[in-house]
């Protein structure tokens, strides 16, 4: 009954001051929503159990090789699987892209090559037909595949007779044996499931191929136990391999993690904790501010509380009475935040599906779920504790005598004043840090988006493929096949030009007449094998000549070098006909420069300047590769430009293995840029909200502190203080907190910047950090000073006679 009265009283209070209620709610909803959204998004992306039967026990097997991510080879798998006692299920698979031919054209789908046990592991039954069994994967078996419900519906109109019919996958006639239910995409984005042949399991010495693998531990066995056993077995196998093949020994470790975590390369947990820390910082800011707003209210009621206390109310009663207002606001804020976050997650889901044609990994499904709701409850409780209970408890335990004895606010207001000053300092510190971090990441994203790449990929298509070496064992055959493909593509009327461009890695080069004492002194450059005119991808010849048909394996080895390289080694002379020695694998080749081309961004120094690293183009006719990255430029407005390559491929040899679907060359880069832009936008919005929050907070705190001193201002004014002297008094005091908070933040930033500077290898000039720090400091100072000035101005506008009556 008493509680009911308290609640009624609190509700009346909230309605009586709608502006206060709205402001408090706004601050709280903002803080809660940002934290909650961040949590939910990251949780779904990295930690959440997969939405499959027994999804929480589905683990991806990853290997840490000398601390770096690695995969199991088929050999490792074969040798390990019978040795393990801790696993209930264990298997390998491969992800790829499969092209479905429909008469003359076709479509590419994300697919997986799997073996018996794979579908049982996922725990999902086909809606039609059967899954892959052991007979399907024996060498020479009839090729079979399962298709997804979506393909079944769109390409076969849900025809029930489909089982047993055939489909052409990557040029191979394949029997459809089953249809998997809608939304089923395991292991990642698959819409087609084909077989991973037993062929891969036959021992191949040290050349066994890498595979992805999955596992489920036996019930009663912990993940750590399984990891230990697997690590131990794998190390044994590795030791034998070291002896057998004389390879370098490495430190191996097996990790069982969620599929999501494996996808993030294990960095998920770092990003997860960092972003969560930022989000929690914002929640803390929100709590401080809500707490302060509520504290202001309880301080207003201090005398009332003291009287109640004097009348015999115990502190439990007092706390509960003072708390209700905050509790109600927190509950309402929590509820509204959940609604807001649910809407934001739904929107994210929609946006993501429309951005990524394949829909992305199947666990990228965002929405309100149990974990997020649970977190909402936790956050709300924390908020209640921080922003309602503590202030109420403080207020209830005040010294009654001091409060009752006279009208002037004594020790209590002094304590409150100290607290509020501490809070202002904390806020300034937190916001300064957030702003500094935010501006660095915005700067990085900005530099990344606007980076000068030195190429022109407009109307350029790219295809990546592997020439089957068993069918084309000699280099001559491989080169002929590549040239045949180039001719085929070139014949198409829409094609302007064709070039192949394989990045052969960063390689050492030795200049003539130069001694290198130590290995680290030898300069390096990015080496790119190329056939055809580089102008196809926007890299232009400045002097000299291009490669031509006379550059063969029999003639001297020729090179085109980037302007940056020409300038670096032959600054005041022409680089043409200069020579150097290039180390390619085991061999060293004497190279002659025949031309200089424009600079291009190197993949190895993505954040660097365009002329920071050099490029050497070598002739694809002199150095032959079986893996090709194939570019062709088409006329603007060409439709189905990808068909040009597919048709050429089918006319030449259908068994060429595409490692990535044919797509505009810009696609990958744009995706990366888009996600960078999104990231920088999110950071910006979050930073902006944090700033707004802090502004409201600092304003609130100062307004509160000033209001607390209205009476004092009245006294000072009564005895002759001018407006200016009062304003200066408050600004001076606020300035002190500003300087302390900002100073601490700048100190932290200096440490962070130093680490970051080293980590990014002096990516940004040192000056830019100073500029950043100074602009943030200046901006924040102005904003804080305004936030202090505004309430001060309001307080001194009051006539002193009114201020003196103010209690």
């Amino acid at each position: 009954m008493l509680m009911f009265l308290d609640i009624k009283y609190a509700i009346r209070q909230l309605f009586k001051s709608p502006r206060f209620t709205a402001m408090t709610l706004f601050v709280l909803i903002g803080g809660l929503s940002i934290s909650l959204f961040t949590f939910s998004f990251l949780y779904s992306t990295v930690y959440k159990p997969l939405s499959l039967p027994n999804g929480d026990s589905i683990k991806a097997v990853t290997i840490l090789k000398n601390g770096n991510f690695d995969m199991l080879t088929a050999n490792d798998f074969t040798q390990m699987k019978d040795e393990l006692n801790t696993l209930a299920e264990f298997g390998i698979y491969q992800e790829s892209t499969t092209r479905v031919s429909i008469e003359d054209s076709g479509k590419s789908y994300s697919s997986a090559r799997v073996r018996e046990g794979f579908f049982k592991f996922a725990g999902v039954e086909p809606i039609l037909g059967r899954t892959i069994n052991a007979e399907d994967t024996v060498v020479g078996a009839n090729p079979v595949a399962l298709i997804s419900e979506e393909i079944w519906q769109s390409d076969y109109r849900g025809n029930n007779e489909i089982i047993g019919s055939t489909i052409i996958l990557d040029g191979v006639v394949t029997e459809i044996v089953g249809v998997m239910p809608a939304e089923y995409r395991f292991p990642n984005t698959a819409r087609l499931w084909t077989t991973l042949s037993d062929d891969v399991l036959k021992p191949e010495g040290n050349n066994s191929a890498w595979h992805r693998s999955y596992a489920r531990v036996k019930s009663g066995v912990t993940i750590t136990q399984a990891e230990q056993e697997m690590t131990q077995v794998l190390r044994q196998i590795h030791q034998e391999n070291v002896k057998l093949y004389q390879i370098e020994p490495s430190d191996l470790q097996v990790k069982l993690m969620t599929f999501q975590m494996a996808q993030t390369g294990g960095e998920g947990s770092i990003v997860f904790s960092f972003l969560n820390a930022v989000a929690l910082m914002i929640l803390l800011l929100a709590c401080i501010n809500v707490g302060n707003l509520l504290l202001a209210r309880t301080l207003d009621k201090q005398k009332e509380t003291a009287i109640r206390s004097a009348l015999g109310a115990n502190s439990v009663r007092l706390v509960s009475q003072l708390m209700w207002e905050g509790v109600l606001i927190a509950l309402l804020g929590g509820f509204l935040s959940v609604l807001l976050v649910a809407a934001a997650l739904d929107y994210t889901n929609m946006a993501l599906q429309s951005w990524i044609p394949s829909g992305g990994s199947f666990w990228w499904r965002y929405g309100m779920d149990g974990a997020t709701l649970g977190m909402a409850v936790v956050f709300t409780l924390v908020t209640i504790l921080l922003s309602s209970f503590l202030p109420a408890w403080r207020s209830a335990n005040q010294d009654i005598n001091t409060t009752l004895r006279d009208g002037t606010r004594g020790a209590q207001s002094k304590k409150a004043g100290r607290l509020s000053r501490l809070l202002v300092t904390t806020q300034v510190f937190l916001v300064a840090i957030l702003m500094l971090i935010g501006s660095i990441s915005a700067y990085i994203a900005h530099s990344f988006i606007n980076i000068e790449l030195g190429d022109d990929y407009s109307h350029v298509m790219s295809a990546r493929f592997q020439i089957p070496t068993d069918k084309y064992p000699s280099e001559k055959q491989q080169l002929n096949l590549t040239q045949e493909l180039i001719q085929q593509v070139k014949q198409h009327p829409s094609v302007v030009d064709v070039v192949t461009n394989n990045w052969a890695g960063t390689r050492k080069l030795y200049l003539d007449n130069k001694e290198y004492l130590r290995d680290t002194e030898v300069p390096t450059a990015d080496v790119i094998q190329t056939i055809g005119p580089l102008a196809t991808v926007g890299v232009n010849l400045t002097i000299g000549r291009n490669f031509n048909v006379r550059d063969t394996q029999q003639t001297r080895k020729v090179a085109l070098i980037s302007e940056s390289m020409a300038k670096r080694y032959w600054p005041n002379e022409s680089a043409i006909d200069k020579s150097f020695t290039l180390e390619l694998g085991e061999e060293k080749h004497k190279m002659s420069v025949v031309g200089v081309v424009s600079n291009r961004m190197n993949p190895s120094t993505m954040f660097g300047k365009i002329d920071a690293a050099d490029e050497i183009y070598i002739s694809g006719q002199q150095f032959i590769a079986s893996y090709q990255v194939f570019f062709y430029r088409v006329l603007p407005g060409t439709e189905n430009a990808d068909e040009v390559f597919y048709r050429a491929m089918f006319n030449t040899d259908r068994s060429i293995e595409l490692t990535y679907q044919v797509q505009p060359a810009e696609q990958n880069r744009n995706k990366m840029r888009e996600s960078m832009a999104l990231l920088s936008n999110i950071t910006f919005i979050t930073g902006f909200f944090a700033l707004l929050l802090a502004l409201v907070g600092i304003y609130g705190l100062t307004a509160n502190a000033v209001a607390q001193r209205t009476h004092e201002v009245g006294i000072r004014r009564a005895i002759g203080a001018t407006d200016l002297s009062i304003t200066l008094m408050f600004l001076k005091q606020g300035g002190k907190q500003l300087v302390i908070g900002l100073g601490l933040a700048l100190l932290c930033f200096a440490l962070m910047a130093m680490g970051f500077h080293q980590f990014t290898e002096q990516l940004f000039p040192v000056m830019s950090y100073y500029v950043l720090a100074i602009s943030v400091a200046l901006g924040l100072s102005i904003i804080v000073m305004i936030a202090i000035f505004m309430p001060t101005k309001r307080a001194i506008q009051m006539e002193p006679s009114v201020a003196l009556r103010y209690e």
Binding site: T408, G410, G714, I715, I719, A721, D723, P800
Partner: protein
């Protein structure tokens, strides 16, 4: 007797939530230099309002106010602050000392708001007025460490520190017991004898009688103005 203060048809109304309160209506009054006035009347009749107008804490809605020959009815906020700082001393019922400042810091406050005052002058002056109210031994205490009577004596010292033309006291003994009240009252008698002009609001008829001249208010108007012949004290320097 030269007129220190002249009020002519002063009115003051407050507008709160569309309700107009006429706190003062057509008040006219002359106060001479060195006079000791008491102001009585029932609660809410406008005494404090009149005192704040006299002390330039607020400006009248209507009417004219001359202070030492200067028309002060329409001054700006800062001009009024400057006059308060030089010419007026306040003593309040609730002492109104600043709790974060020590006794001597409280007392020196009015001087710190004046320009051209040296710190040695401030030091001497503070010591002088604290001695006058017999509070020198508590100069470094905080107000919360003092009794009510002591706090009020500090407040009086603060009112004296700028050698004001007039001391305005709003129920200075209202929060004090009879012994402390008597001490503060005799302090006022003393000040009056030394030549100060005092205007004091009080509830207590006995205190009112100690003044030279008693004003009575009712419902925002002056209804009585009598010279107290039985006043025990005669000012030394009246009408110089």
């Amino acid at each position: 007797m030269s007129a220190l203060i002249t009020l002519e048809n002063i009115s003051k109304s407050f507008l709160t939530e569309d309700i107009e309160t006429r706190a003062l209506q057509q008040v006219s009054l002359t106060i001479s230099q060195g006079e000791y006035l008491s102001l009585t009347g029932q609660s809410g009749c406008g005494k404090s309002t009149l005192l704040s107008l006299l002390g330039l804490l607020d400006s009248p809605t209507k009417g004219q106010y001359w202070l030492a020959g200067q028309d002060v009815s329409t001054l700006s906020r800062n001009e009024r602050a400057a006059i308060r700082c030089k010419k007026i001393g306040f003593v309040f019922q609730s002492f109104n000392l600043i709790s974060d400042l020590t006794v001597s810091e409280n007392v020196m406050l009015p001087l710190t708001y004046q320009s051209g005052v040296t710190s040695s002058y401030i030091k001497d002056k503070v010591a002088e007025v604290l001695a006058k109210v017999e509070m020198s031994h508590r100069a470094n205490h905080y107000p919360s460490q003092l009794s009510g009577g002591q706090q009020q004596r500090v407040a009086v010292a603060r009112a004296l520190v700028n050698t004001p033309d007039i001391i305005l006291a709003d129920e200075p003994t209202g929060n004090l017991d009879s012994k402390n009240a008597e001490a503060v009252m005799s302090l006022f008698d003393q000040l009056h004898q030394d030549g100060a002009t005092i205007c004091m609001v009080t509830h207590d008829p006995k205190s009112a009688k100690r003044a030279q001249r008693s004003l009575e208010m009712f419902d925002g108007q002056l209804v009585g103005d009598v010279k107290n012949t039985e006043s025990n004290f005669t000012p030394k320097a009246v009408g110089v």
